[in-house]
Every structure is written in C-alpha cells, then in structure tokens.
Symmetry: C2
Subunit: 299 residues, 2 copies
C-alpha cells in the first residue's frame, strides 16, 4: 500500500548519561521511516537546508525511503539540541533552530496525492493542514504533534484534528490539549475533537488506545539499556502506522498487532543514539523480540 509521511528531517545534538553526539540525522520523519519501512514503502515529505550532508541522503535512499518530496531549500536545516538525565523519560531542549522549516510548504507529486495511508508527524500544524488539503484519496490519516504547537497554534492543530482518523499523543500533550489530568477522560475528549482513534504514548509505561471497537493497554518492552530516547515516539508511530498500511484495514485485531510492532520498534530505538539501532533492523528482529514480549504480557 505504501505510506506518505510528512515531518521533519533534522540534525540533532543529543547528550545523555551515555555520551554526546553532534548533528545526528534525526527528525520525526526520519525516525518514523526507519520503522515504517519494515512493513511498507515509505515516501518522505520534508525539507532540508543547504548544509544537509549528502551522506544522510545516501543513507535514507539506501534504506529504501522515497525522497522525491524531500525539498532542499536555501537556508539551514532544522536543528534540535537536547539533554536527558535521571530516568531519561523527558528531554530538556537546549536549543531549537527552525531554519528552512519556518517557510516550508510541502509539494507533492500527483502519485503522492493519491496515497491512502498518511502520517502527519510532528511539525507545524499549518504545514500539516497544508498537506492534508493536497490529499485526494486518503483513508487512514494519523497525526502527531507536540506541546509547543498545542500552546502556540492550538486552533490550527484542532482544525487538523477534525480531519484525521488517528491522533498519536504523549500523556502530557493529551493532558495539555484537553485540560484533563485523567488519561481516560483525556482520550475521550480528544476523540470528540475528531479522530476516531486516540493513542496515548506513555514512554517507559507503554501505550493506551481508545477506539469505538476497543480499548487497548500495552506496557512498554522492558529494556535495561536506555541510551537515547529521542525519536522513540516517532519510531512507535512508524511501526504502528506501517503495520496498519500493510494490513490495509483498521479493526481491533489489526490495532492490537500495530501497537505491538510500534512498541517493539520503539524499544530498539532507545537502545542506541539516533537511528543507530533502528536503521540496522530487519523485520525478523522485531518478530524475535515480540515473541519474548508476548511471554511477559500474556495473562
């Protein structure tokens, strides 16, 4: 089926108790692609600047990601700098440099406009809305956002939410957007904004999904080597949406499998810096870890 992902391609500088890495290939669309590619063809829509290293382009191509709509504009690539300490659950943002993201308007090919599966990864909701308006044929559209947009572009985000099927949020975002501290109430409120499926990511505590057909709860895979959680949520979304795209239908059974694959993909992501672990994954690595995980959670 293939999936179209709109998001960021970034240069990330990350410090964790395990070390520091400068200008790693990162961004929501990059992390999403690394896990989604294990299930379906991925077409990436993002923007980079003149400073973006050719080696990263080659790396993404080598992973089979379609870069037809990876725009290159004059100006700098989006850069993020962050730091993790303690339980590594929360990043402290040290610096954000929007660069070419500030003026980006995605341009799709005629073929891309007809994609059925679309994921609007974390990026300015104005850009998400712009892309949504270009789509002709979409049947499963997912969206992720972040606190920065919830607080600065709430109206634009709510406009986008009206048109999507699946909203993927972390627990704090769900609380901030709805004003509900209880996550079950927050999920209910979020569904009233438009999406028929709400998935709340709780980091090391797993995920909670609410849909008409089912309520699902899944712990995270218990890994003892959390090196760098950057992009774990995007990696989850890639496994989740990638599997749904491959399955071609959304119901309780496919949603269960999708959150399992998202969870397992995310567990690999946190075990290395940037895309280190997820870029080396094959589908069989997911299946092997999933078998172990199922033993932990089967009641």
């Amino acid at each position: 089926m293939g999936i179209l992902v709109l998001g960021t391609v970034a240069l990330d500088t990350v410090q964790t108790p395990f070390g520091k890495r400068d200008a790693l290939l990162g961004g929501s669309a990059s992390h999403f692609s690394m896990s989604a590619r294990l299930f379906t063809d991925v077409s990436l829509v993002a923007v980079i600047g003149k400073d973006f290293p050719d080696k990263h382009i080659a790396f993404l191509k080598n992973k089979g990601i379609d870069l037809t709509s990876l725009a290159k504009e004059s100006g700098d690539t989006f850069r993020w700098q962050g730091e993790y300490s303690g339980d590594l659950n929360t990043a402290k943002t040290l610096d954000t440099h929007l660069g070419v993201l500030a003026t980006f308007r995605p341009q799709l090919t005629a073929a891309q406009r007809r994609f059925k599966n679309v994921f609007l990864a974390n990026v300015d909701p104005d850009i998400q809305n712009y892309l949504l308006a270009s789509m002709r044929n979409s049947t499963i559209v997912g969206l992720d956002s972040m606190n920065f947009w919830i607080h600065t572009k709430r109206k634009s985000l709510l406009r986008a939410l009206k048109k999507v099927d699946i909203f993927v949020a972390n627990d704090q975002e769900a609380r901030d957007l709805t004003g509900q501290t209880n996550l079950i109430k927050a999920a209910k409120s979020l569904r009233s904004y438009g999406p028929r499926i709400v998935l709340i990511k709780k980091g090391e505590h797993g995920v909670f999904l609410q849909a008409d057909s089912c309520t699902l709860l899944l712990p995270a895979y218990p890994t003892d080597t959390v090196v760098d959680p950057t992009g774990a949520g995007d990696t989850f979304a890639g496994g989740f949406m990638g599997y749904l795209a491959r399955a071609g239908k959304v119901n309780a059974a496919t949603l269960k499998k999708a959150i399992c694959y998202g969870t397992i993909a995310a567990s690999f992501n946190v075990e290395g810096f940037g895309l280190e672990k997820t870029s080396a994954l094959a589908r069989n690595d997911l299946e092997k870890r999933l078998r172990v995980f199922k033993r932990h959670i089967s009641i």
Copy 2:
C-alpha cells in the same frame, strides 16, 4: 490457608480534588485486609490507641478480619494527613503522628506463629524484623516499605529483605533503595538483596514483576474516576498475596493471576475515599471487572 498481615491501622485525613475526609479508617494493614479477605482468612497484627473508635473495630470484625493481635495501647492511634492534586499520582504528606506505633512490638499467638503466608505491610522495619523472628513455619513472606524507612532505617530494611520471598515496592522506592533509575536494573538489584520475586508498582502505569520463572508486565485497569488513591498499593498487595495464599503455590501461572487480582482490587480502591469501595466488594465484582480488563490487554 489464611494470611497474617503486619502493618498499620490508622486514622487518615485526606484531601483530594473530590473533597476532604477526616479521620477515616486507614493504614497499610486495613487496606491490605479489605482485598485479601476476598481470597482467604486474614489475621491482622497492628496497634491502635485509646482514641480509636469502637465502630472501626466493629467494621473490621464485620468484614471477617481476625483481630486477636490488634493491640490496644495507651496513647494515640497512628494518624496520617495527606493531600493529592493534579494527576493524583503522588500524595503530599501534611502531617504524620506516630503515636502508639513508636513503641509497638507485635505479640502473636502460638497459632499465628505457624502461619505459612505472611505479609509485612509498610511499617517500621524494626517491627517487621521483630515479627519475622517470631514466625516458625512461613513459606511465602512478602514485604512492603516506604521511602521514609529507606532513608532512615536502611540497614534494618536490608536485614528484613534478606529473609523475605517477595518485595513489593513502588517505582520511586525501588530507585531510591538501589540507586538505579532504570526499573529493570533496579528490580535485578533488589533481587540480589534477598527476595526471589520483586514486584514494582507504578501506580496508574501498572506493575512489573521479576522472578526466576518469569518477567511479567501488567498495565493498571483504566478507571476514569480516581477519587482517592490512598492505600491503592496496599490493596494491590492484599489481592496479590491473598490470591497466592489461596492458590498455595507460587509459579508463573499463579503469579499472573495474583497480579491481575491485585490490579483489579486496587482499581476499586482509588474510586472512593478510604475503604469505601473495597469494603463493599465481593469476589464476583473482581471477576466481572477482570473479564473487561482481559479484553483490554489481550494481544
């Protein structure tokens, strides 16, 4: 089989966004008993003061709890005052008055010394050690503690841990006691202190159990009416240990059922103040909610 529980019987004053209650019947042993009684006979070991209302004694007796070793001493009953706000995950302790707890040394009957199933609920580890030294025949001993004892009586707590089978801790306690922020590493360290089974309670995020025979992960039951979480951990322990006592053996299969019952019992506890909800429970209420829960977590 029956279970012996050592802990506190307290008068709790609690404020949450849902209201305030003064001098409620509370304490670790009371909350534990309310869920454990659904599975087995409960013999409670604790101390109260002269100010303890007769109606609470009648209430506990009426629930079938054996109060032979509920000592009444001159002095005040242990009192705790706390407040919850926001997501209600963490209590802010406003006042603690030890009263008769300060000098308590539990005295058991000859029959009680021969109990096979014992739970040392949260109380001074010196008292836990004192009781452990009295036991003649115990085969499944569980222990709970709290940050206050981890910081003020670490040596005594470690001495007790050497002799118990199951350590039930919340996530912050596990981190504080081991110095490990990663919970999988913390559980591993805790097992090296003595207990062959470590169960980490994560509040609204569920539980994580590590034993030789298995690793288990279970989300919390998703309730949208969290009124007062006081005693949720003790209620969990009561369902968990109560079921194990009834089953009469500890293996992967019984541990799975035990964490399910603990989880469901705790979900009722948080839906009312004090013992309001758990004291009204019948075993069938647990079974009904467990069936719903299994649909949410079956993958």
